[in-house]
Symmetry: C2
Subunit: 605 residues, 2 copies
Amino acid sequence: MPEPKSNELMEKIVSLCKRRGFIFQSSEIYGGINGFWDYGPLGAELKRNLREAWWNRMMREREDCVGLDASIILHRAVWKASGHEDTFADPMSTCKSCKKLIRSDQWWTLMTEQQWVQSLAALVEPGTDAFKGADLLKWAKGKGKHLAPQLALVRNPEVTLSWLAGEIEKGKRPADAREFYLYLATEQFGATGLITPCPHCGGELTAPRPFNLMLKTHTGPIESEENLAYLRPETAQAIFVQFKNVFDSSRVKIPFGIGQIGKAFRNEITPRNFTFRSREFEQMELEFFIPPDEAIRLIHGSVAKWDEGVDLTVPHANWGWEIWHRYWVAQRTQFYQDIGLGADVLDYYWQTKDELAHYARATVDILFKFPFGTEELEGIAARGDFDLTQHQKHSGKSLEIFDEELRNAAAKLTGEQKQEFIAEVQEDWNDHGKSREESAMFCEKLLRGTYLPHVIEPSAGLDRLTLAAICAAYAEEQKADVNGKVELRTVLRFHPRTAPIKVAIFPLLKNKPELVAKAREVYTLLKRHLASFYDESGAIGRRYARQDEAGTPFGITIDFETFEGVKEGANAGEKDTVTIRHRDDGRQERLKISELLPFLLEKTR
Amino acid sequence: MPEPKSNELMEKIVSLCKRRGFIFQSSEIYGGINGFWDYGPLGAELKRNLREAWWNRMMREREDCVGLDASIILHRAVWKASGHEDTFADPMSTCKSCKKLIRSDQWWTLMTEQQWVQSLAALVEPGTDAFKGADLLKWAKGKGKHLAPQLALVRNPEVTLSWLAGEIEKGKRPADAREFYLYLATEQFGATGLITPCPHCGGELTAPRPFNLMLKTHTGPIESEENLAYLRPETAQAIFVQFKNVFDSSRVKIPFGIGQIGKAFRNEITPRNFTFRSREFEQMELEFFIPPDEAIRLIHGSVAKWDEGVDLTVPHANWGWEIWHRYWVAQRTQFYQDIGLGADVLDYYWQTKDELAHYARATVDILFKFPFGTEELEGIAARGDFDLTQHQKHSGKSLEIFDEELRNAAAKLTGEQKQEFIAEVQEDWNDHGKSREESAMFCEKLLRGTYLPHVIEPSAGLDRLTLAAICAAYAEEQKADVNGKVELRTVLRFHPRTAPIKVAIFPLLKNKPELVAKAREVYTLLKRHLASFYDESGAIGRRYARQDEAGTPFGITIDFETFEGVKEGANAGEKDTVTIRHRDDGRQERLKISELLPFLLEKTR
């Protein structure tokens, strides 16, 4: 399948990933398995560093978040309650000719990648009906026969063209370029209207039908409906399901978060874009539980209003869901910036009201500018109390929490004030289509200090982040070698925090035992504390280049000055120093061996 | 189901795990799912620390090992080649009455846990036929009806007893206690001999049949044979499958290892012993690739022989598989010791020739003394070149490596020496049942410097290790409270390296702002670097006790002496000191705040 030229960069990255051991196709020696990838030595370290960065920032360094590590296979009832069993589906069509399966919402993208569409486009675009019948006829009887044998235009060129001409005469011309291909796939209107052509062979696609994305399995010795289980399609649900257990065992107070990193599985119809859309992937999700805004109002009199001036760095007790949501967008942006993904490579997409899931109050996607397009890295959703409500209802177990401060605040209200509060809530809820009974029940509980927490969910993909880190780091440099010959070299400019290898140690020459011995000594000193690599083979420039390609930010060379003392400059005469080379600008400086570890730890943590 | 009394300790541990947030039943609010467990906040941190300890020791601190992070779902052909699809099975029987499934090799263990077996045992044991018919008859018509309604003795007491008496008269008495229950389940010999009773109802079990333990799923939109895939039952195979990719991309040389940590799944018929035998678990596996002994002989003239005097701390180039195997047993033992699992809680089991898998040359199990028995924590197997051979054969891709040193050594041999070498190898291989053609082909390649590496596999279970760490840490103490009342308290004596929380920070009193402010300052200082917990609520003794139960090794208290200067002792008058309390002996010492971080990092890393 020919890829558009814009993917040349992506091809280079994929090739580098294999060559340097970042990412391999899963089961490659058996021809691979579509949608599954393996991380090689450098990739595994890179991914580990990103995973650690998330965990440290989101769990260890925070006082208000705790971790969870739940199983991939959960009780089937979890997915019933969450809605995944009934509605977690993509629309899918099948080709009646070649039997290939097409994710309906990817149809046009797939079409634009096909050779037959590209060759047809040259004949008709940009106008949708500015084509010459003779050109199409020639195409249909030539190229078309090989490229799209099942297309109506190819199977029956004269009939299709005359039908098309007739339609255009009647004024029923194709509305746009996309629809033009539907006309070419149709000899005449059938009962179901225009035919959608298969991107692969031009044949007729069936109408889209929902295809559930969860991978199924059976636990226990019998493959029965009773034993049916799913591989989790997201890590979030286990957090909701264990919310009460965590709350009861961990001395946390609302607001607080539960975070989890782990594998999830989605049976993507068409895995795409290298590791970006795969069938097995790793998520990093936080569910941050907050009081409903009504509780804030009871305790603090009002809920703080969001505007650009709000200081998002220090949480405040009178924040409602809207500011908490903004807070997490800011926090996550800061996280990306701190690992080297700054404003230049990120973008944001605020979902419109129409796009939001029915329970969601706001969702922001943090996007990354991949070579294949600007795509989602993380979604940050304000989900209300939808998830806990669902699990409470389906499990029959109370997931409500009791808040003493809230109860005390409510106890101070007069009967009249309470009635006023209830009336306000009822009016507000009524505007959101909820019944008087629902809001009355909610208020009654709230005034007793009890509620279901609401949730803000920053949900990131670790594989996507790993790929983003590689894409952001990828750079090519023109460099002259010692003979003045210019060569194109690849450098991965990883942030030192995420680089798989932090430092490489080189003796200037391999055949000088004292250089080698000292270099081994430095290596042994460093590797206990950070990922280090020792290399003595080849010219020093070659060794630098190899490390540049692996993304190693620092190179240490042990040379004769290490023993004989520095020859010139500020620290002339000083012994036991080494050269430290910076990957990104090639800058070299001399450091004492005793200063290396603190210097490197400072830079890489 | 009544548990034997020896499990009282285990019950306490399970209960502590839930209460303090170490381990929860998966999907608990939906009634749980058999064989799946979730790690709560403390458990997730404990497991992370153990995972990190393995990775750091086995990957980062070593020069000869690199990591891999492969997918859970691999190509089905992988499991065909590895033998899992055809032979990875446990024997299973079904009860013809209650339809329950019994893993045949667990039948007797299950039986001993049943109330009906326990009550019968009192009537007949220890002799196998020293019973009174009257007692059995009474039991059958009383207790038996409730406990084992489908047992022949219960359904037809007179017939069964008279048959049993007849058999004994004929000298065909039960051989042992186990067989006695077979007699009680049989009214008369059928075509298949004695009946094995179901532990649950006493009914008849079917003959054992193999039950494959791999969990199945389908990838891609159609549930066809072609799309069938398995969840990996071990992480090892992905390492073999990617061996060549790693070798080609990572500048490693034999001997070297590839390590992986990740989830694996086995459809255990009867998940047992808390998290010990579950259906979803995490493995930490290393495949350490070494040359075949014949290559060592060619290069070094001979292979070093194993005896107790061999220094296992520094690998030597003339080691063959046997010493490498011993080396890894020693390495892994050291690892366990370094995280607090010493000789007192470990044991070893060397598999006998009969027990070894056909391809294995030696296997040692490292066992841990769990409350429910001494069970496997890790297996260390010398697997020869079985795995790479299988994958090479099934994939048709060469997995051989080229060794220049070997080729050079072989090139120095005379024709006569080569013939001699080949003859020796052929004789040796012949003794192991291999054909002349096989050994000739092997020698021919070897003399050209080419071979398939052999492998030593230390394979550990992370969930088992987590459970072992909890069991080893669990202790109960009699402590007198301030009023002299003695209470039983639980302490988890985790090694500081593995403890989920490293240090807790307490202001002596909650209502003294200067104490609280200073305590917060210390907390903020520490938590960036290590898992820290701040607690100001309750009496200080109560706070210590809570941390003891969480296994926190160090407690720091900020008191008035922090401000006013130490009252007495060596550092009298000194300000900005805190009390640091040691969990295990309650010992307290004063440390300067500036000394805290280096002190704690030294102890916990």
